[in-house]
């Protein structure tokens, strides 16, 4: 039905221009893995040459085991109708990433949020340091080593009756005697 012609053409263009890796995920989804220094050139190239004019999303994933943050830039072309993901890994110890709000203004908001939630520094980023959180004196809350349960238990008042926080699925199974399906066992809290 669809032999992914335009997706492969885009992938070839990008990986041949920058000598990077990438793959076609499915129709209308292409991703490339870039070095952190080439990301802004890829984004500029995609915006100016290929017509990927829309920054749809920009996010960060915490890979605590590998000691890295993964930055994901999602850009979209209204002509090709393809979503291109540009992914890069940055060091977790000293997270610094290039500021791209000169390319897209709306990146400023995402970057301020990431600075607050993950502690990633963007040199040259304009904006107050307090963005969503107020008076925050802990480590950035979206980092995986931040223990949300412990923090909430220490800071807020739990109402009696809520502290055990039973697993709904386990409770239902216990009362009705139903068998737990194999895939559900790994989500159990017991």
């Amino acid at each position: 039905m669809n032999d992914l012609v335009k997706e492969n053409k885009l992938l070839d263009t990008v990986i041949n221009s920058f000598k990077i890796e990438g793959k076609v995920i499915r129709d209308c989804r292409v991703e490339v893995y870039a070095d952190k220094n080439t990301v802004s050139s890829i984004l500029l190239f995609a915006k100016n040459q290929l017509g990927y004019i829309h920054l749809a999303h920009m996010t960060c994933v915490d890979w605590i085991d590998q000691g890295e943050y993964e930055m994901i830039y999602t850009i979209y072309s209204p002509v090709d109708k393809i979503t291109l993901f540009v992914k890069t890994r940055i060091d977790r110890e000293n997270p610094v990433m290039e500021n791209i709000d000169t390319i897209w203004d709306q990146a400023n908001t995402y970057e301020r949020e990431m600075r607050e939630m993950f502690g990633i520094e963007f040199p040259g980023l304009i904006g107050e340091h307090d963005f969503i959180l107020e008076d925050w004196d802990q480590i950035p809350p979206m980092r995986k080593e931040f223990d949300t349960h412990k923090y909430a238990a220490e800071t807020f008042f739990t109402r009696p009756g809520r502290e055990d926080a039973k697993d709904v699925r386990d409770e239902i199974n216990k009362r009705s005697g139903a068998k737990v399906p194999e895939f559900a066992k790994k989500y159990s809290r017991e």
Partner: protein, 181 residues
């Protein structure tokens, strides 16, 4: 003396009756619960037949309706609003989030249990409570007012230290005016 007591009773009755039938609700929506308020106010459920209607500013309002989760950032504003309101003032906690945190019970940024920070008159359970439940909560508040038991503004003033301790535990950078009620 006996006569005085009786006449005071009559005055209280009239006063409570009047208060009960004109509950001005501050139009301040926090969280997702604010979406139920238009349904409650408009023609199908028509809350105005109970005397419940919106007020534009805190100083004109009687009821502070906390509709849903409160982030710590919003809590600061809510406290400021509550302290600006004139007595008699009532607080209604709306939805599970105000009762025990609801689905945000382990969040780093939303409070669990509103009554640790502000005195709450009536809690309405549900996620979300339907307009019937909201009206039922208001009727409960009216009963409390009629029985003379809805005096939480006074309670807040008397136990201000307790509430301030809890509030300052969360709001570390306390730059708010102190009112002398």
């Amino acid at each position: 003396m006996e006569n005085d007591k009786n006449s005071q009773k009559i005055v209280d009755y009239i006063q409570n009756f009047a208060r009960k039938h004109s509950l001005f609700v501050l139009a301040y929506g926090t969280g997702c619960g604010a979406i139920e308020i238009p349904a409650t106010m408009t023609s199908r459920y028509d809350a105005e037949r109970f005397g419940i209607r919106g007020a534009a500013t805190p100083r004109q309002a009687d009821v502070l309706l906390i509709t849903g989760y409160l982030s710590t950032k919003t809590l600061k504003r809510v406290i400021r609003v509550y302290e600006q309101m004139q007595e008699p003032k009532y607080v209604i906690g709306f939805g599970s989030c105000t009762i025990n945190g609801g689905m945000y019970y382990d969040s780093y940024n939303t409070i669990n249990g509103l009554d640790q920070y502000l005195p709450v008159d009536v809690y309405i359970n549900g996620c979300m409570p339907r307009p019937e439940a909201v009206i039922s909560g208001f009727v409960k508040l009216q009963e409390l007012i009629m029985a003379g038991r809805a005096n939480n503004g006074e309670k807040y003033r008397e136990n201000l230290e307790h509430y301030r301790t809890n509030q300052k535990k969360i709001i570390k950078n306390w730059k708010m005016p102190d009112y002398n009620w």
